[in-house]
């Protein structure tokens, strides 16, 4: 039992989550020697580490975003020994290729969730609960007011909105994250309604994912030469921050909408002043978080980002040993501008 005296499997440093036994970081936010990456979103996969390890599925997008980096890949469920730690990656259901990372040191198992959701979005590898002693979880939507509607119902709402816009001679401008959310929406759209146009940031990711074998409907990239009137009734999919800019203005008249978990709140919907808000999130809702945590069987839970204070208190009241870890992860931010740096 000497091993139990050896300190925690993972520690929390100002660079990120660190494993002393394996001398590696998970999703660090400052440059480190060895980084294990859960998925390709910018707050998790950052530039500047000497060596990267990610799943086969996540690697192509990470390469697209970070360029020429030293990136090794690993299949879901395969165990790798790193120093004194045994490491494996497991589906997180967040975006295609996203993973939770399981770290086992001397029989004690900790799991880092990264970002996750428990509903099947039809595209990402569905979330699998991983039994562990300690679970490090996000809680972006860690309040009981967040309950995601049935994805089929939302798909019907979006297609209904689009169809009505076609009938009224309008374009449909839909704002969604370029990695994950956008492709998940594409998979839910009915291509029979009208053509689907995409912002360059989204289309670049589409190209990578199609190449990996993810099934997406046909889309047309919006280029400066594209003539909107050649595509009447089109649905235009763009990162949220592109809506309301001159890029979006050429699609007139249009109805605009956002797809985000935040759209569950009327106040946020109204602040965005879009015509419609569809409740679609790549993070777990209240029930999803609670189920996921319970299914890990963990006794200790660390919450990293989201409604951390409230969610920790709730977990404590449910008998967990729960703590808050301050991180640089942002979760689902309605106002993120990360996606739109490049020209259309």
């Amino acid at each position: 039992m000497l091993e139990l005296m050896a300190g925690p499997v993972l520690t929390f440093t100002d660079r990120g989550i660190y494993c002393p036994a394996g001398d590696f970081h998970i999703d660090p936010w400052r440059p480190v020697d060895r980084a294990l990456i859960t998925h390709g979103h910018a707050d998790h996969a950052r530039w500047g580490h000497r060596a990267y390890l990610a799943t086969d599925g996540a690697a192509p997008v990470i390469r697209m975003r970070l360029g020429d980096i030293a990136l090794e890949t690993i299949a879901y469920g395969t165990t790798r020994q790193i120093g004194d730690a045994r490491v494996s990656f497991h589906p997180a259901g967040h975006v295609p290729g996203s993973a939770q990372i399981r770290v086992e040191v001397a029989g004690e198992i900790w799991v880092v969730s990264g970002d996750y959701k428990t509903v099947d979005d039809g595209l990402s590898e569905p979330f699998v609960p991983v039994p562990c002693h300690a679970f490090i979880t996000e809680c972006t939507f860690g309040l009981p007011v967040f309950r995601w509607p049935d994805p089929a119902q939302i798909a019907a709402e979006i297609n209904g909105w689009w169809t009505a816009n076609v009938a009224a001679g309008r374009f449909s401008l839909l704002g969604a994250y370029s990695l994950g959310k956008a492709q998940r929406l594409l998979a839910a759209l009915d291509p029979a309604v009208a053509p689907i146009l995409t912002h360059g940031a989204i289309e670049n990711t589409n190209a990578v994912l199609r190449n990996q074998g993810y099934a997406l409907p046909d889309t047309i990239r919006v280029t400066p030469e594209l003539k909107p009137k050649d595509h009447p009734g089109a649905l235009v999919l763009a990162p949220p921050s592109a809506l309301g800019t001159s890029w979006a203005k050429r699609f007139t008249p249009a109805s605009d909408a956002f797809a985000s978990g935040w759209m569950a709140l009327r106040g946020v919907r109204r602040r965005r002043a879009a015509d419609r808000g569809f409740v679609v999130s790549d993070h777990a809702d209240w029930a999803g978080l609670n189920t996921a945590i319970s299914e890990t069987g963990a006794e200790r839970v660390f919450v990293t980002h989201g409604y951390t204070a409230q969610f920790r208190q709730w977990l404590e009241s449910q008998g967990y040993d729960a703590g808050i870890v301050e991180t640089d992860y942002s979760g689902e931010e309605l106002d993120s501008t990360e996606d739109v740096v490049e020209a259309p």
């Binding site: 007011v145 106040g267 946020v268 709730w314 009241s317």
Partner: protein
């Protein structure tokens, strides 16, 4: 209630005024009379009486959802709307039942006859029979706060479209002291004789802020100027031997201002005045600060002591009805002349004074006068075109408010709190401090004035720079300086700093100023001495 909930959803789903009017007009054409009457009532701020306290509703909703009360409260903090929080937190309905809006309101009234413990199963059963949007609307009815993103003006426009009745005429019909219990749709909306209600006020004419230079308004001789007071806009009505005083928010406030009853003896029937209700310092012959008036508004009956400490007057600036005829179409200059003649004949203790015209012969001279507004305890000037009729609602062109520039002070942000409702995921509520030696003394909070982009920027900074948490409040390093603009400053025993600001807001983010260069407590005291 399906139809009403659909209307609510349709209004909520668009930001286009035209689409809102279309949706509302469609509803007004199709809904049964009782429902449309209630809809008009709700959209003009007439709500059914609250029969259950919000405390009970919170407890019952948390219990039904199987959650501790503190978690319900934490959720409410984020959502910012009680009706919505309850709707979101409850489990989905077991079965759904359709009842009309009017039926639900009648049911709600019937609850008043029950003992409180007997109301609980009724409410729980109702929650359990309503799908999402209807449940939200239902909660709005029982909590009594109804805002649908539709102004009264828009509602009136839609009703005008649905009934082919002139909008201004409708606006007048919808004013006053009615409820769906005391009238019917045809009596209220279709009846041709609005004068049958003796207390009915005229719709207030509201001005926009003047942003362009006044020179753009043309020849100064076409215009009149008055001080713009910081009181409560009110309409005083004398008809058939009775006095009625309405606030702009259409609240009947007659009994709150007993000192104005004396006007009954001096004014003929068929007289309606528009003016400003102010707490008045008779000795100094100028208005008291707004908080003196505030002490009066809060109470339905006025103790003698308060009556002596904060006496109220009406400073009248317009005459809307004279000898029973509607004067609103007459030019302002004519109305004003008759008003002055009327007020001249009133004794000084009648409680009504003219709000004097401010003479001027050039815009330049008037601008100089405006700069002295604070000396008169005024917010600035009102500009009115001499030829203007008295219109209904907020209209551009003939009336403008021309406020004096606000007072400003540079302060350091020391605490941040997340907003709720529209701003649920942003830090928007800040506490500001000024220097007293090496110490920072908090003196005001401010919530508004920044752009969405600036709020996002400061939010990201707060998240990364939290030093300490006190519940929802985060202490942050004193790094950011903001210019705080405000309309007035008062001594206050209730505030630790000893001052209270009127309408504080962030007017500028001083990226150029390090925290050490923010203003000092002495500066604040100096402002209090000059303007307090």
């Amino acid at each position: 209630m399906q139809r009403f909930a659909d209307l609510f959803t349709a209004l909520d789903q668009t930001t286009s005024t035209k689409a809102k009017v279309t949706a509302l007009a469609g509803y007004f054409r199709e809904a049964p009379d009782a429902d449309r009457l209630w809809t008009i009532a709700l959209l003009s701020g007439r709500r059914p009486k609250r029969t259950i306290t919000t405390t009970r509703l919170r407890e019952w909703a948390a219990e039904r959802a199987g959650l501790p009360l503190w978690l319900f409260e934490a959720s409410y903090d984020v959502v910012g709307d009680l009706a919505e929080t309850i709707a979101l937190i409850l489990p989905p309905p077991a079965r759904t039942v359709e009842r009309s809006l009017t039926d639900w309101i009648a049911w709600l009234k019937s609850l008043a006859a029950l003992e409180e413990p007997d109301r609980k199963p009724e409410i729980l059963a109702a929650w359990d029979s309503l799908p999402g949007p209807q449940r939200f609307v239902f909660n709005k009815l029982i909590t009594g706060g109804f805002r649908m993103g539709v102004s009264r003006k828009l509602m009136t426009r839609a009703l005008a479209a649905a009934t082919d009745i002139d909008e201004a005429r409708l606006a007048h019909r919808l004013m006053g002291d009615w409820t769906p219990e005391t009238t019917s749709f045809s009596e209220l909306v279709l009846s041709d004789d609005p004068a049958d209600d003796l207390s009915r006020p005229y719709p207030f004419y509201l001005a926009y802020q003047l942003d362009d230079p006044p020179e753009n308004l043309g020849d100064p001789s076409d215009w009149r100027a008055e001080w713009k007071w910081d009181g409560i806009r009110g309409q005083l009505i004398r008809r058939d031997g009775q006095l009625h005083i309405w606030s702009r928010g259409e609240e009947l406030m007659t009994d709150r201002f007993p000192e104005l009853r004396a006007t009954l003896d001096h004014m003929p029937d068929g007289t309606v005045l528009d003016g400003e209700l102010l707490a008045w310092d008779h000795e100094a012959a100028r208005p008291m600060p707004f908080n003196a008036l505030q002490r009066r508004i809060g109470r339905k009956s006025v103790p003698k002591k308060l009556l002596a400490e904060a006496p109220v007057v009406l400073r009248a600036y317009d005459l809307l009805e004279w000898q029973g005829s509607d004067l609103r179409a007459a030019p302002f200059a004519d109305r004003r002349a008759r008003l002055d003649a009327l007020l001249d004949a009133l004794p000084a203790d009648a409680g009504i004074q003219p709000s004097p015209l401010v003479p001027f012969d050039s815009w330049e001279a008037l601008a100089a006068t405006r700069e002295t507004a604070r000396d008169a305890n005024a917010e600035g000037l009102m500009l009115k075109r001499a030829a203007s009729p008295y219109l209904a609602g907020r209209k551009k062109g003939d009336w403008w408010k021309w406020k004096v520039a606000p007072l400003v002070i540079d302060a350091v942000m020391i605490y941040a709190q997340a907003g709720h409702g529209r701003r649920a995921n942003l830090y928007t509520d800040f506490t500001f401090a000024v220097w007293k030696g090496d110490e920072l003394v908090p003196f005001t909070k401010a919530y508004s004035g920044l752009t969405d982009a600036e709020f996002r920027q400061i939010t990201a900074w707060v998240r990364k720079n939290t030093l300490e948490r006190f519940g929802p409040v985060r202490r942050v390093p004193p790094e950011h300086v903001f210019e705080i603009a405000f309309e007035g400053i008062q001594r206050s025993a209730r505030h630790k700093s000893g001052v209270a600001l009127r309408f504080p807001r962030m007017s500028r983010w001083r990226h150029d100023k390090p925290a050490a260069e923010a203003n000092s407590f002495d500066d604040l005291q100096a402002m209090l001495a000059t303007y307090g």
